[in-house]
């Protein structure tokens, strides 16, 4: 087990190295002078020179890359050009809203998707199943911003249950925080639940057809006990996998949701950085997101061993 984790971490090193190369060379893929690209169309020659020096663009690509990688490895994420602040500080400021949104989304998605997927599987082929799965396909056919605007229109504008936009930190009051985060989590959670419900239904249908489910029925257990103790546990591995793999989609969803609901999170930080051509932020954040993705998938592989005693590394 420990050996497996070490092996997986070692395997992640080449992947992260490639991510680093891709992320770092983004700026160099564009033809032209890197410093003037960063400075944008309206910059004076002095600005361009200042940026060139500040980012070390006067040095060779390899030297720059080496300095960046060693800096990242040492925990120095670089310094924002636009804000003139360390990326680490900016990131910490924006972490709260994004974590609230991400965990809230997964919570909403699982709460909706597991029962929906199970009911659909139990009544597979019947009307309930078809209706649920149609809703599911509709769910992931809508971009998050569409769902977001529908929710804002209904619950914030018509019913006035929630603020229309904005984010309130937990420190300013739990209730206020919850109200500000509820709709964004619902919007993104609905889209995600569509995905998870689909895979839940598929796996549960498969598990329900297995012999040991018949054994459980032969023991006279109630359908709820059979669903929770026997079926869901066996369906858990594919469901957890989907949740892990869709982390990349979650990041994408978070970016858009933060934009729709005007939440000052990491997604907005990166999008703003991209439009401001603030390369230190872009590079650092893309690398961190990729690292988190690999980490989450490693954690999920470890969770497998807790769920299924047959899986051993």
């Amino acid at each position: 087990m420990g050996l497996y984790v070490v092996k997986r971490v070692l395997m992640a090193i080449p992947v992260m190295a490639i991510v680093a190369v891709i992320v770092f060379s983004l700026l160099y893929l564009v033809p032209g002078d890197a410093a003037s690209i960063i400075a944008g169309n309206f910059a004076s020659p002095e600005d361009v020179e200042r940026i060139r020096l500040q980012m070390g663009l006067d040095q060779s690509f390899m030297v720059q890359f080496y300095q960046w990688v060693t800096g990242m490895a040492g925990g120095d994420l670089g310094k924002s050009i636009f804000y003139d602040m360390p990326v680490t500080t900016l990131m910490m400021q924006r972490l709260g809203p994004t974590l609230s949104l991400a965990f809230g989304t997964i919570l909403v998605a699982v709460i909706i998707a597991l029962p929906a997927g199970c009911i659909s599987a139990v009544y597979s082929g019947r009307f309930v199943d078809r209706a649920t799965m149609l809703c599911s396909v509709l769910g992931f056919s809508m971009p998050v911003f569409v769902v977001g605007y529908i929710l804002i229109y209904l619950f914030s504008f018509k019913l006035q249950w929630f603020p229309i936009q904005g984010y309130v930190a937990v420190a300013e009051g739990f209730g206020l925080w919850l109200r500000s985060i509820a709709l964004p989590c619902m919007a993104l959670g609905l889209v995600f639940s569509a995905l998870i419900a689909r895979i839940t239904r598929a796996t549960v249908v498969e598990v329900l057809a297995q012999d040991f489910i018949r054994t459980a029925h032969a023991k006279g257990l109630s359908p709820v006990v059979i669903m929770i103790r026997h079926t869901l546990r066996n369906a858990a591995v594919p469901i957890v996998t989907v949740i892990g793999v869709s982390f990349v989609m979650l990041i994408g969803g978070v970016v858009i949701t933060e934009s729709v609901f005007n939440i000052p999170g990491l997604g907005r930080l990166v999008v703003d950085a991209i439009t401001q051509r603030d390369f230190p932020i872009i590079r650092a954040m893309l690398l961190i997101f990729s690292g988190v993705y690999l980490l989450i998938n490693l954690i999920i592989d470890i969770i497998y061993t807790l769920i299924d005693p047959r899986i051993q590394y």
């Binding site: 040991f212 018949r214 023991k219 006279g220 257990l221 546990r233 769920i307 005693p309």
Partner: protein, 353 residues
Amino acid sequence: MQPPQGGKKEMSGDPSERGTILDIDGLKVSFRSKGRIVHAVNNVSFRLRKGETLCLVGESGCGKSVTALSVMGLLPRPPASFDHGQILFEGRDILSLSEKEMRALRGDRMAMIFQSPATSLNPLLTIGRQITEGLEKHQRLSRREATRSAMDFLAKVRIPDPKRVMNQFPHELSGGMCQRIMIAVALSSRPDLLIADEPTTALDVTIQAQILSILSEMQTESGTALLMITHDLGVVAEIADRVSVMYAGSIVEDAHVESLFTHPAHPYTIGLMRSMPQLHTAGVDGGQSRRRLDEIRGVVPHLSRIPAGCLFAPRCHWAVHRCREEAPPLTRVGEDHRAACWEAKKVQESIYV
């Protein structure tokens, strides 16, 4: 550890009914899917007494498993539907019971073991948990009492080191061990009826004998009635008191085990016997009487369209004109012996097994 409801044997009033655990009368089961109807069971009747072993014999798809699952109430409705007949379990018609009432019986008064032990156990739960969950539900035992009881049963089915096995998972055990555990699960509630659906088919021949001896030992000890489903006449000879032979959803012959083997009265039964390899005959005469293993020629009719007459007629050497016109009823052909064949007497006389 007595079952909570006492005196269940004395419940039925009619003296001739005394001791009857299971009485199936004229059962017809069909399956509907995509506008097609398959008549899986047509007119099955038999009776099982306390402590008795009845073997239901026939080839795959003849409706024996459907019959067993009907008794357990494990057929999903739809697609299954019970068109005719009744299943009396200890005098109660279980087809009219609610799902909740059936759940109270299943795993308590009646239990079942299945063909493939490895897949019939939940791979993610410990062996111990899979035995205790039933005990906790039906006998309302505490976790600790249930664990102790489960360990007793593991010892009874000759599991070495029950304490260790309690914490193991199915994939760590052999098929034979798993089937013993299935028996322990089934018998732990001391049921009145145990249904075993081909319990030895998926196992090695050497393990088969062990499982059969454990089954009959446990049965003698607890007085449980056993409904054994098999296609293996060797198993029948080993364990059965009575035998019902099924073909294409109907019972074609029904007899005491000795009578069946000595005076088979249905051509299908004879076909089954002939298609069974017999080691001893070949060995004793030094291979002289070694004969070709006979197969039953032809195929089973498709059960979505039942033709007129005897269903076995197209495959039968003895078939006469009448067989293709009129289906033969199950009639008495000897002491405790019935067969559904117009030519039964002739068949019986012409055969030396």
